[in-house]
C-alpha cells in the first residue's frame, strides 16, 4: 500500500481531538441538568479516539495510550453494578440513587448525586466497548 498523503487530516486531528475530548467531558458533566450524559459523553469520547485511529496508525495510538479498553469496559460495568450494591449497604433497594447539596471550597454550593458515579460506569463501559470493537476489527488485516 502506498503511503497516503494525509498531512491535512493529521494536522486537523491533532487540534480537533482535543476539542472533541473537551466537548465529550463537557457533555458528560452537563448531563445532569442539560443535554448530555454518560452514554453520549462516552460515545463522543470514543469517537475522538476513533478519529485518532483513523488518522494515525493503530500501533502508534496504542503506544501513546497504553490502555486495555476491554478492561475499561469491564471496570465501567463493575462501577455501575457496585453503585447499585452500594445502595443496599444503606438498606435501600438495589440501584437506589440519591443526591444532596454541599458547600465545596471552590464551587460553592454544589449538588452532588450518586447517579454521577453510575454515569461514570456507563461512560467507561461505552468507551471501552466501542473502542474494543473498532480496534479488533480495524486491527484485523
Amino acid at each position: 500500500m502506498k503511503k497516503p498523503n494525509d498531512v491535512i487530516i493529521r494536522s486537523v486531528t491533532k487540534v480537533a481531538v482535543v476539542i472533541i475530548f473537551t466537548f465529550a467531558i463537557n457533555l458528560f458533566i452537563s448531563g445532569h441538568h442539560y443535554p448530555g450524559g454518560g452514554f453520549i459523553g462516552g460515545l463522543a469520547f470514543a469517537s475522538g479516539l476513533i478519529l485518532l485511529f483513523l488518522t494515525f496508525d493503530i500501533e502508534a495510538v496504542r503506544r501513546n495510550i497504553p490502555v486495555d479498553f476491554k478492561v475499561v469496559a469491564a471496570v465501567g460495568v463493575l462501577i455501575a453494578v457496585l453503585t447499585g450494591v452500594g445502595a443496599m449497604l444503606f438498606d435501600s433497594p438495589f440501584l437506589s440513587q440519591t443526591f444532596g447539596y454541599f458547600n465545596l471550597p471552590i464551587f460553592g454550593r454544589t449538588e452532588l448525586a450518586t447517579a454521577v458515579i453510575f454515569d461514570v460506569g456507563v461512560a467507561l463501559a461505552v468507551i471501552g466497548t466501542s473502542v474494543t470493537i473498532i480496534m479488533s476489527i480495524g486491527d484485523d488485516r
Partner: protein, 809 residues
C-alpha cells in the same frame, strides 16, 4: 429472634470459599479434609442440642426477608422430621469426610474441588430440609442436583463418569422442573409459599382443581431424586463417583430428599386415594425392581446401587401406605396405618447407617484389592477380619436379620403391608392382597443379594483366591475403619435401644408428618420390640430366610432366567436411544435452517415480524388510526422526508460499497435532524455520535469485503426480497400509526416531569437513564460489554484462517 439456623445452613457455603486457599497453603503436607471435618462436626453438635427441645414438641422458626415483594422469605423451620435429616446430613457427612481423608490420596487427587463440591452439597441439603419456603427449597433442591453432578463427574477424564453425571443431571433436573411447576400450582391454591401455611390450608387445597396435577408434578420431582422406578436408571451410573460420595449422596442423604419431600407434603396430599396409590405402588415396584436387579450385578457398587433403589422404594411405599392414616382421621384405624409412617422414618435412619457402612466397606475392598468385581473376589475373610465383620453387620441388617436394626424396621414393614392388605378403603380389596406378596418376594431377593455381598466377597469359593489379585491384600488403615465402625455400632445399638431413638427422634418426626393426628395422646405412641410372639410377620421373616438361603445356594441353577429378557429391552437403552435420537434429529433440523447465509437469517427474522406482528394486528383488528389529532406536517419535515427517501434509494442503487456506507450515514444524520425539529437534543446528539461511530465501523469492516459485484439473480429470488422488505415497511408503518392513534393507557411521562424533585436533575432523559430506569441501563451496558468482548473474541481468538493454513502447506 436469632438466625443461627441460617448461619448453620450458610456455614458450609462460606467455608467452601475458603477451601481452595487452605488447599493451596497446606497441600500436600496436610490433608485438606482435616479442616473440612470441623464444619459437619460443629453442625452435628449444634443440632444435637435441639433433640430434647424437639422431643418435647417444640418447633423453631426463623425468618430472613429475601424477596419480600414476591412473598419469598428465607424462612427456616425445624421440627422432628427436618432434625432427623439434619442429623443424618451432618453426622454421616462428618463420618464420610473422615473416611475420605484416608480414601482420597492427598498427592494425586484435586482435593480442593472435591471438598468444595462436598460442602456445596452439604449446605444445599441442609437448606433443603430446613427451609419452609417452597421457592427456597427448590433453589436448594437444584443445588443438590448440581453438586451431585459435579461430584459424579469428579474423575471427569473417565468417559463413564461424564456419562453418569450427565444422566443424573438430565433426570433430576427434569424432575426438579416438574416439581417447580407443582410448587407454583400449590402456591396458587394456597396463596402462599410457606409449607406450614399450606398444611394449615390442606382441606382447601384438596378440593381445588389443580390438586391432582400439582401432586403428580411434585411426585415426579420426588421420584426422580429418590431414584424411583422408572427414573431409577441414573443411580447405578452415579456410582462412578468416588466411594465416599456414593456413601454420602447416593445412599444416605441426597437420594432421600425425595423421601423427605413426600413426607413433608403428606399432610397436604395424604388422605387422598391418588396419593396413596401412586406413592405406594411406585414404591413397591421400585422395591421389587431394585432387589431383583441387584442380584444379577457383578460390580459390588452396582449391587449396592440397586439395593439402594430397592430400599428407597421400600421407604417410599411405607410413606404411601401410611398416608391412609390421614384419611381415617383420629381413631384406632389411623394408628394402624401410622405404623407405616413410623416404619418409614425408622427404616430411613437404619438404611443410612447400614448402607453407609456397607459403601465404606466396599470402598475399602476396592482400595485394598483394586477391584470391585464379585467374579474376581473371594476369601478376604481372614485377610480383612474387621471389614468382614462390618460387612456382615451391614448386610444382615439390610436382609432384615436380628440382632440388627434392619430386623425391627423390616418387621414393621411387614406389619404395614399386612395392614394394607386388609384395608377397606380406596378399592383396595383385590389389589390389596398383592401388596404383602410383592413385599415378601422383594425381601427374599434382598436376602439373596445381601448374602452375595458378604459370602462371595469374603467367603472361600473355589478358585478365587486373594493371591490371584496380584497384590498384597491386607486390612485397611485404622482411620478408614473408624467411620464404618461407628455406623456398624449404631446398627447394633439401634436394635437394642430402639425406644430411646424412637422417643427422641422418630416420634417427633412422625408428629411432623401426621400433624393432625399427633395432637391426640396415645394414638401415635408406638413401642418397638424385637419379640412380639409367633405372629405372621415373624413367619414371613422365617420364610424369607428359608427361601433366600435356598435361592442363594442354588443361584447358578436359576440365574439364567435373567437372560430371558432381550439385551436391548431395558430402560437404559431407551434412555440412550432417546439421547441419541434427540441429538441426530435436532442436528437434521438445525442443518436445514442454519444455512450460514446472513440473508437467510434476515429473511427468517423479517418474515417472523411480518407474520407475528402483522398477523396479530390483523387478527385483533389493531390497525385503526386516527390522524385528526396529529400536528400538521410543515415544510421542514417534507424536505427532510424527501432527502431521506433519496438517500435510502441511493443505498439501494449504489454501485460501490463506499457510496452505500456514506448514504446510510447521511440517512442517519437526517434522522437526527428530525430529533432536532421535535426538540429532543439528547436524542439528536446521541444519534449524531452513534452515526459517526457506526459509519467509521462500517468503513473498517467493508475494507475486508470484496468489491460489490453486479448481482445476477433470478426473478423469484428478487420477488421474495421485495415482498419481505415491503411487508416489513408496511407493518412498521401501520404499527407506528396505530400506536399513535390508540392510547390504551394514560401517559406515564407526568411522573418523570418531577425529576428535579425526585432525582435532583433537570435533564429528564438522563435521570431516566441513570436513576428511574437505572437497572435497564445497567443491563444494557452489560450487554454492550459482552457484545464487545464477543467481537473481540471472534476476531482475535479465532483459529488460524483456512487459506493461511493451506498456504503454509
Amino acid at each position: 429472634m436469632s438466625f443461627w439456623l441460617h448461619v448453620m445452613i450458610l456455614l458450609p457455603f462460606l467455608f467452601a470459599i475458603a477451601v481452595p486457599f487452605i488447599y493451596k497453603k497446606v497441600s500436600p503436607r496436610i490433608h485438606t479434609g482435616w479442616f473440612v471435618l470441623f464444619i459437619p462436626l460443629v453442625i452435628f453438635i449444634y443440632l444435637l442440642a435441639f433433640i430434647p427441645k424437639i422431643s418435647n414438641g417444640n418447633t423453631f422458626t426463623e425468618t430472613v426477608p429475601w424477596m419480600p415483594s414476591f412473598n419469598i422469605d428465607f424462612t427456616t423451620y425445624m421440627d422432628g422430621l427436618s432434625l432427623i435429616f439434619g442429623l443424618l446430613i451432618s453426622g454421616i457427612g462428618a463420618l464420610v469426610i473422615l473416611y475420605s481423608i484416608f480414601y482420597m490420596s492427598k498427592h494425586r487427587e484435586a482435593l480442593n474441588n472435591f471438598y468444595v463440591y462436598l460442602l456445596l452439597f452439604m449446605g444445599a441439603m441442609l437448606g433443603l430440609v430446613f427451609s419452609d419456603n417452597m421457592i427456597v427449597l427448590y433453589v436448594f433442591w437444584e443445588t443438590t442436583s448440581v453438586s451431585s453432578f459435579l461430584l459424579i463427574a469428579y474423575w471427569y477424564e473417565r468417559e463413564t463418569s461424564r456419562y453418569g453425571a450427565q444422566k443424573s443431571m438430565l433426570i433430576t433436573i427434569f424432575g426438579g422442573l416438574a416439581m417447580l411447576a407443582g410448587f407454583i400450582m400449590l402456591s396458587i391454591m394456597a396463596d402462599t409459599y410457606s409449607i406450614r401455611e399450606m398444611i394449615s390450608k390442606a382441606s382447601e387445597i384438596s378440593s381445588h382443581s389443580l390438586f391432582i396435577p400439582a401432586m403428580i408434578l411434585i411426585l415426579i420431582g420426588a421420584f426422580t431424586k429418590s431414584a424411583q422406578f422408572p427414573f431409577s436408571i441414573w443411580l447405578p451410573d452415579a456410582m462412578e463417583a468416588p466411594t465416599p460420595i456414593s456413601a454420602y449422596l447416593h445412599s444416605a442423604t441426597m437420594v432421600k430428599a425425595g423421601i423427605y419431600l413426600v413426607a413433608r407434603l403428606t399432610p397436604i396430599f395424604g388422605g387422598s386415594a391418588e396419593w396413596f396409590w401412586i406413592v405406594s405402588v411406585v414404591g413397591l415396584i421400585t422395591l421389587l425392581y431394585g432387589s431383583v436387579n441387584a442380584v444379577r450385578q457383578t460390580d459390588l457398587k452396582a449391587l449396592l446401587a440397586y439395593s439402594t433403589i430397592s430400599q428407597l422404594g421400600l421407604i417410599m411405599s411405607l410413606l404411601g401406605l401410611g398416608s391412609a392414616s390421614l384419611y381415617f382421621g383420629v381413631g384406632d384405624d389411623s394408628s394402624v396405618y401410622a405404623v407405616a409412617i413410623f416404619a418409614a422414618i425408622f427404616h430411613l435412619v437404619n438404611h443410612s447407617t447400614f448402607k453407609g457402612s456397607l459403601f465404606m466397606v466396599i470402598g475399602i475392598i476396592d482400595h485394598e484389592t483394586g477391584t470391585r468385581d464379585i467374579r474376581r473376589l473371594g476369601g478376604l475373610m481372614h485377610l480383612m477380619p474387621i471389614s468382614f465383620t462390618l460387612a456382615v453387620i451391614g448386610s444382615f441388617a439390610m436382609a432384615g436379620l436380628p440382632p440388627f436394626n434392619g430386623f425391627l424396621s423390616k418387621e414393621m414393614f411387614f406389619t404395614a403391608v399386612l395392614n394394607a392388605s386388609s384395608m377397606s378403603v380406596f378399592n383396595a380389596d383385590v389389589i390389596g392382597l398383592a401388596i404383602p406378596i410383592i413385599a415378601w418376594i422383594a425381601s427374599v431377593f434382598t436376602f439373596v443379594y445381601s448374602m452375595i455381598l458378604v459370602f462371595k466377597t469374603f467367603g472361600f469359593r473355589g478358585k478365587n483366591k486373594p493371591e490371584k489379585l496380584g497384590r498384597d491384600v491386607h486390612e485397611a488403615p485404622i482411620g478408614m475403619l473408624i467411620s464404618p465402625l461407628v455406623l456398624g455400632t449404631l446398627v447394633i445399638i439401634f436394635f437394642f435401644f430402639p425406644n430411646t431413638l424412637s422417643h427422641y427422634l422418630l416420634q417427633p418426626a412422625m408428629d411432623a408428618v401426621l400433624p393432625t393426628i399427633a395432637g391426640e395422646a396415645g394414638v401415635l405412641d408406638i413401642k418397638i420390640s424385637a419379640w412380639h410372639g409367633w405372629n405372621t410377620e415373624l413367619f414371613m421373616t422365617l420364610g424369607v430366610i428359608g427361601l433366600g438361603t435356598l435361592l442363594y445356594i442354588y443361584l447358578k441353577k436359576w440365574f439364567p432366567i435373567y437372560h430371558l429378557l432381550p439385551e436391548g429391552f431395558t430402560l437404559n437403552s431407551l434412555y440412550n436411544l432417546g439421547l441419541e435420537k434427540m441429538e441426530s434429529v435436532s442436528k437434521v433440523i438445525t442443518v436445514r435452517y442454519m444455512t450460514g447465509f446472513i440473508r437467510d437469517y434476515l429473511v427468517y427474522i423479517f418474515a417472523f415480524i411480518i407474520l407475528v406482528v402483522g398477523g396479530a394486528m390483523w387478527l385483533f383488528d389493531g390497525y385503526s388510526f386516527d390522524l385528526s389529532k396529529d400536528a400538521p406536517v410543515n415544510i421542514f419535515e417534507v424536505i427532510l422526508m424527501t432527502l431521506m427517501v433519496i438517500t435510502a434509494l441511493a443505498v439501494l442503487f449504489s454501485k460501490k460499497r463506499l457510496t452505500a456506507i456514506v448514504a446510510v450515514g447521511a440517512l442517519g444524520f437526517l434522522v437526527s435532524f428530525f430529533f432536532v425539529l421535535f426538540r429532543a437534543p439528547d436524542l439528536a446528539l446521541t444519534q449524531l455520535v452513534v452515526e459517526t461511530v457506526t459509519t467509521a465501523l462500517f468503513l473498517l469492516c467493508f475494507y475486508h469485503l470484496p468489491q460489490l459485484k453486479k448481482e445476477i439473480s433470478r426473478i423469484p429470488f428478487k420477488a421474495v426480497n421485495a415482498v419481505i422488505s415491503i411487508g416489513v415497511g408496511v407493518v412498521v408503518t401501520i404499527v407506528a400509526l396505530s400506536a399513535n392513534g390508540n392510547r390504551l393507557f394514560s401517559s406515564i411521562s407526568g411522573y418523570y416531569e418531577n425529576s428535579y424533585e425526585l432525582a435532583g436533575a433537570k435533564n429528564i432523559v438522563n435521570s431516566i437513564l441513570v436513576d428511574f430506569r437505572g437497572i435497564d441501563t445497567m443491563l444494557e451496558i452489560l450487554v454492550l460489554c459482552i457484545a464487545g468482548l464477543g467481537v473481540y473474541t471472534l476476531i482475535k481468538l479465532r483459529p488460524q484462517r483456512r487459506d493461511e493454513n493451506e498456504e503454509a502447506k
